[in-house]
């Protein structure tokens, strides 16, 4: 299990600094005369949390220092130590030192060692005065029992189940230490009429062959030692009645939990098996931290490799397959290896979506409390992985959607109860892979979108909205700029950024966003994103002398239109009739200002593009092929170009621009409107 604890560092530092601030202000209020017990308790808790976190996350200096502080506070809390001016003074200085230590741990510097030493000494001196007791229980010296066979008698008290413990679990844990032979003692078992199913009447006589020491065995019983009679003794197999090393008994013993009865305390059968060579089952976490830049540069280099490889493939196409058989076989291998390298490198950038999801329990809790609502958050598919850059870009839109769902979707408890629903609303966040995409959903069981209100609002804002529009079209209105139906602008989701910003963010990731909503039952917003932003499955099309790449995910179909299929509407705008549906027609040649190539769609081909549920037909001259392309940013190397989302290098070394389908749809609808 390679869980990188570093991801929790940020939270740890934040809460630790908050804790220190709280400690400081509480200490400042504390005076020797008014040693408020609850105040000391609060200070202790803060120190305790910092210590626990620091130890867990490996900030040993912080945890060691906090331990001194905590011990002193614990004594004050218990009333063993008076709360004097001197103590308060040292504690305040200790808070300062701790703050410095935490800063150093976070930023990689080091705290002033002299101050740490000085205050540490002061704390130690205070603790060394008579009232002191460092609180650590004396550790039992490790017993040096030789490895071998152990005889264990375990008689749980009848009420052991009511502490949540289960003898079966203990037996299982023991069997993991070595070869365990189990004899069950049923002598305490009463008649059926008197047996209480909630009580434990069984006892066990166990023989464990293991190289472990007594402490390891005692550890297994640690939780129940006060709830059972227990004896653990070293035991030699020879000369004991329980031993039977015959082959058949060994076989039996090797089977899972062989059970033998002890009648009147006498062992009727017993077996000791050979100790199995057990390999340590601990899986060490084997991950290293690598700077993102290194991975990015690796991805870039792999991108170059892919391009070079494509170039070689293109050159090889002209070769005679018989004469160059070996070269071609080598190229095929290179093609496979390149692909595998590419996939492997991309995988290093993949992070579980939980990186985003994990922030929501807090968001939901805080916001629900603020709005007086009860909200339960369910997350599904947190382990789903996607590209780091996608994760970074999706965090804000998702936060907005979740906030929206709580603010506008989930009703107040009274309203929910009146509607016959559970007073607590549910927000479900889920992520899943679907083909080359990741689908993220934010669903709530709130009041749903209000169709009439959305239409009214849209009209008020001067948007085209008609009663006859389908639900889907109505829901799409909420993504229009400046649209907001909240009657009162709350400081929660009405910050002037609306769903249009969410949509813009999703569009920028070449994703799509869809809304489904049922009045009274809730709303579900589905975001579909490409797994990675670095590589794209594209269709290359020729327009005049230029080649453009269209993201394959946006290509619905392509066809050679018959002249009758194309109609002119209102003079200039053209549409194409596709199976009883009219789709606006645009020419890529016009949009991109290419001077050569077909203008008349009847001489070219039409590619039907789809994005965000809308379609547009684009006229091109030729479909060149389908290929994976490595995306190079135009924006960072040149500037943003309308209608173009990036560029790539083709196998023959030429640069091809990648079309921005959403933008083409916009351009197309503007042309239609004109």
């Amino acid at each position: 299990m390679g869980i990188d604890l570093a991801r929790f560092h940020q939270t740890f530092f934040e809460e630790s600094f908050e804790g220190l601030d709280a400690m400081e202000s509480a200490l400042l209020r504390l005076s020797p005369q008014t040693a408020d017990r609850e105040a000391i308790n609060g200070i202790f808790r803060a120190a305790h949390s910092i210590k626990g976190g620091a130890a867990t996350f490996g900030f040993n200096e912080v945890s060691a220092f906090t331990h001194l502080l905590e011990t002193l506070l614990d004594e004050m809390r218990a009333g063993v130590r008076p709360v004097g001016g001197a103590e308060i003074d040292v504690l305040l200085r200790a808070v300062d030192v701790l703050r410095e230590l935490l800063h150093a741990a976070r930023d990689g510097g080091s705290a002033d060692p002299a101050a740490v030493q000085q205050i540490g000494d002061a704390l130690t001196r205070l603790l060394a005065t008579p009232a002191a007791d460092d609180g650590t229980p004396p550790r039992a010296a490790p017993s040096a029992a030789p490895p071998g066979t152990w005889r264990i008698r375990f008689v749980p008290q009848p009420q052991i189940f009511t502490s949540g413990n289960d003898p079966l679990r203990i037996l299982r844990a023991l069997s993991q230490l070595g070869e365990l032979d189990v004899c069950c003692d049923t002598t305490r078992l009463p008649g059926l009429a008197d047996a209480d199913p909630e009580r434990c009447y069984l006892a066990w006589e166990l023989v464990l062959r293991s190289a472990c020491d007594r402490e390891a065995i005692a550890e297994v019983f640690a939780w129940v030692e006060d709830e059972c009679e227990l004896s653990i003794e070293p035991w030699r197999a020879d000369g004991d009645a329980c031993a039977d090393t015959s082959a058949s008994a060994r076989r039996q013993a090797a089977e899972a939990q062989p059970l033998r009865l002890i009648e009147g305390g006498r062992t009727t059968d017993g077996a000791v098996a050979e100790p199995a060579a057990r390999t340590a089952q601990r899986t060490e976490s084997s991950s290293i931290r690598v700077a993102t830049e290194k991975i990015d540069s690796l991805i870039n280099l792999v991108g170059e490799l892919v391009i070079t490889e494509a170039m070689l493939q293109q050159l090889a196409r002209t070769l005679d397959p018989v004469m160059h058989e070996k070269l071609l076989a080598g190229l095929a291998l290179l093609d496979r290896n390149t692909r595998q390298i590419q996939e492997a490198v991309m995988a290093t950038r993949m992070l579980p979506v939980d990186f985003v999801f994990s922030r929501f329990p807090r968001v939901v809790r805080d916001l629900a409390a603020k709005l007086g609502k009860q909200v339960r958050l369910q997350t599904v598919g947190e382990a789903t992985e996607l590209d780091k850059s996608v994760i970074e870009c999706i965090a804000d839109p998702l936060t907005h959607l979740v906030r929206n769902a709580i603010d506008h979707g989930i009703e107040r408890p009274a309203e929910r109860i009146a509607a016959g629903k559970d007073a607590t609303g549910t927000i479900r966040l889920s992520a899943a892979h679907q083909g080359g995409h990741i689908v993220i959903e934010v669903a709530d069981d709130g009041r749903g979108l209000d169709r009439t209100r959305i239409i009214a609002k849209a009209r008020e804002r001067g948007l085209a909205a008609a009663e006859t529009m389908s639900d889907e079209e109505v829901w799409r209105l909420i993504f229009e700029p400046g649209f907001s139906t909240a009657e009162t602008v709350t400081d929660v989701s009405g910050r002037g950024v609306g769903m249009d910003v969410v949509k813009k963010n999703v569009d920028a990731l070449s994703g799509t966003i869809e809304v489904a909503s049922t009045a009274g039952w809730g709303t579900r917003i589905t975001i579909r994103l490409p797994l990675t932003l670095a590589i794209l499955d594209g269709m290359s099309v020729r327009v005049g002398d230029e080649v453009f790449i269209i993201p394959l995910a946006s290509v619905a179909e392509s066809l050679q239109p018959s002249p009758g299929q194309i109609r002119s509407v209102a003079g200039c705008a053209r549409v194409i009739k596709l199976r009883n549906e009219y789709v606006p027609l645009v020419s890529l040649r016009e949009i991109y200002g290419v001077r050569t190539g077909a203008h008349d769609p009847a001489h070219g081909l039409v590619v039907v593009l789809e994005s965000g549920g809308r379609r547009i037909a684009a006229v091109v001259d030729e479909l060149v092929g389908q290929q994976q392309v490595v995306i190079k940013s135009i924006e960072s190397n040149y500037r943003r170009v309308p209608g173009i989302s990036g560029a790539t290098i083709l196998g023959d070394g030429r640069v091809a621009l990648i079309t921005d389908v959403a933008e083409i749809l916009r351009i197309g609808s503007r042309a239609q409107a004109a």
Binding site: M1, I3, L5, R7, F8, H9, T11, F12, E14, E15, G42, F44, R45, H48, S49, K51, G52, G53, A55, T56, F57, S63, H67, E70, T71, D74, G135, T136, P137, F161, T162, S163, G164, N165, R169, R172, A173, E198, A222, W223, V224, D226, E227, R282, T283, S285, P352, D354, S358, P361, R362, R365, T379, E382, A383, T424
Partner: protein, 120 residues
């Protein structure tokens, strides 16, 4: 899927516990103090409750005691997350009805191993 309730007033510990257990395939709900946890436990059902000892509002010991009184949690494993120095806390917790404890600091592997031991 087995559901676990993680109770800790420290957000980072809670996140670490929740993340670790989720990645081990459990469903995890979080609560920031004993009082919240008790309310959640009454409304939903959990196969295991992991709780910090020192918490505001209702501490871990009081939470364990209250949970054990609920018929639904009579036999449910309730584990305390405690520090090594808290030997008497362990006893106090046991008397309140806790199943056992996990000593802080613990790493994700230890946490998963312990939880698997109890409800795996």
């Amino acid at each position: 899927m087995k559901r676990i309730l993680a109770v800790d007033d420290s957000a980072s510990m809670r996140q670490m516990v929740a993340f670790t257990l989720k990645s081990a395939g459990f469903e995890v709900a979080e609560a920031a103090d004993g009082a919240i946890a008790l309310e959640m436990a009454k409304k939903e059902s959990f196969s295991l409750v992991l709780c910090d000892v020192n918490m505001p509002n209702m501490d871990g010991i009081a939470l364990v005691r209250a949970l054990r009184q609920l018929p639904a949690y009579k036999f449910t494993p309730l584990l305390m997350l405690t520090t090594e120095s808290g030997a008497e806390k362990k006893q106090e917790g046991k008397q309140a009805g806790a199943t056992g404890w996990l000593v802080k600091p613990f790493n994700p592997d230890q946490l998963i191993a312990t939880v698997n031991k109890v409800i795996g």
